[in-house]
Symmetry: C2
Subunit: 397 residues, 2 copies
Amino acid sequence: MTTLIRGCRPWGGTICDVLVRDGRIAERGSGLAAPDGATVIDGAGQMLLPGLVDAHTHLDKTLLGTPWHPHSAGERLIDLITNERRVLSELQLDPALQSRRMVHHMLERGTTRIRSHVDIGTDIALRHFHGVAETRETCADLAAIQIVAFPQTGMMILPGVADLMEQAVKEGAEVIGGLDPVGIDRDPRGQLDAVFAIAGRHGCEIDIHLHDLGEMGAITIEMMAERTAALGLKGKATVSHGFCLGDVDEKRLEGLIGLLLENDIAIATCGAGHYPIPPILKLRAAGVRMSAGSDGVRDAWGPLNNGDMLERAYQLAWHGDTRDDPGIETMLELATQGGAQAMGATDYGLDVGNRADLVLVAGETAAEAVCYHPPREMVMTGGRIVVENGVSLLEPI
Amino acid sequence: MTTLIRGCRPWGGTICDVLVRDGRIAERGSGLAAPDGATVIDGAGQMLLPGLVDAHTHLDKTLLGTPWHPHSAGERLIDLITNERRVLSELQLDPALQSRRMVHHMLERGTTRIRSHVDIGTDIALRHFHGVAETRETCADLAAIQIVAFPQTGMMILPGVADLMEQAVKEGAEVIGGLDPVGIDRDPRGQLDAVFAIAGRHGCEIDIHLHDLGEMGAITIEMMAERTAALGLKGKATVSHGFCLGDVDEKRLEGLIGLLLENDIAIATCGAGHYPIPPILKLRAAGVRMSAGSDGVRDAWGPLNNGDMLERAYQLAWHGDTRDDPGIETMLELATQGGAQAMGATDYGLDVGNRADLVLVAGETAAEAVCYHPPREMVMTGGRIVVENGVSLLEPI
């Protein structure tokens, strides 16, 4: 299938035409002729973005596609965890179906690559993992999905979870996860030793949820850095959320940034209006790799995340009162290239030869597209058009 | 013109039909027959909301309709004020045209009532005021607009501004404004005496921008309360922004809430991701009147505000991590009834007899509509349909 997108602005630059052939970007230029039989799309001077990348979400637990479920949890992290288990067990949802629904939901908003944390626990064993792994296959042409084996209910406090997580890695989870080694497990040495040992044995990536604030979070990053260095895992680890980086004082932050750089530890942020979040512009200026994610979308943790990564870039700008164009553009970079790099993509972006994951959206500049995050006019994944004239072509699930 | 909206959910309730005749809500019920010649709209089970209300914006200064203007100001309040004057004088925009553009922009997003602060200064005199007053007339059928005479560049520090502001009130500004009496004028006694005296003389409302944090803001609220009581202006004053209410300690806050209630001083909030904002749920529970606004939309202050009040309700929920349905619904109340009340509307809401300012939007519940804030499917103002099937029927300006 060949498609010519006429008159669009790749990343807000000069207007040009983009030819897509065999699922790849074949040519960029002005006045390109449409090959015989090619579909022609009028870019109408709109922004052409590479497919958005959601580098931190939870595909297995969304309530999308079910009737609206009023949020019912208390406010503490542990209330949210317990409540979710109750809701999911009451609703008896199928993780394969739910994750497929969410992939479609995200695709309709322009997201073509997704790193999903997937719950693993002694109660559910590998059921969620198998469901999302199934979706990773069934949706392989639509979106690139990475799975993080994630101990939502704790790791060291529940004997057996570490083994289940390692089993998931053996069965194809690309990343080993973790969760507040101090705050949840109360055993940072135990959890981090176990997680890094699994990564060492299987050569997988590491991505640890770190909500712990202040020194609790800071010592966790120090311990991650020590283990990264000791096991030769430089460039393999990611800290998700990392609220502590927005919470410690300037001097402590400088030290932590040094450790992140030395060990090439990346940061994934989801924003979060009421928490301190990592100081994005400062970390990026220092050279720290960063990506962005939606976190859980309409799930038992609450309904505030809606799975739109262009809007999430806006939320990141809003959080730090970033008003200048280069700063706003940085937020979009987190939601595109930053995420693709975090996922190890090698064929990503708007250059010729890359996979044709493309989004058309109203706007003259990256900053404008972020600030208005209007509905996606066109979404293409691997050369296949899934949203046309703002209307989804995907079958409802 | 008669319109029957079939099968919608007023404020997320049970599905019913709504009949609109002569610009008013004429009937609500199930299985209503369409009168001869009536336009019939398929509500498709969507939410029906009353027109959104933007209780704090700046119609006169938007750059909407002009090419994207990269943000160029420094970070301090004074940098932003100075930069704006430079940009507006360079671009030579017409406040009447710009405010009309913004009214259309807002209407397309469902906003039918607007309180706009309008710059008054010794450099521009009443030029912006006259422009927006013109738009208030030309758009009278489309949106109810209130004007606040606003001393953007300072009041007591620029001799002549107070007189110009009073002149604006004489010429029909419904509200007398103010700006950080401590932080900008360094003369809280002078500014507040002048503002309240004008209100006392003309019986207009008062609405003061208060960005000043901590005690600087708190003493300003105390001084507003004193003058409200002394001049018998209970129920006439609004504090806009009021960041200090999110910044002082619990005990100080309780005292300030007491003053707000005693003098029926209202609060208008625009959110603001990086500032403390008034604790909405706490203030509302105490009985403080509250409304919400977009603040300036795509202007020289920055591009982050986009003029969508349904999304702004979401931003307010996001800011305080409000995840429960009643809490999220409260944010929507600020952007609807709360704003209408702030503007003194007497024919507002979804009940029979009120002006037919109506918005159809996908969603089963108020919380769902807020969290997704999808494009408006239908917008009606005074019975006139201005957005149909998601497409604006307004002439481009």
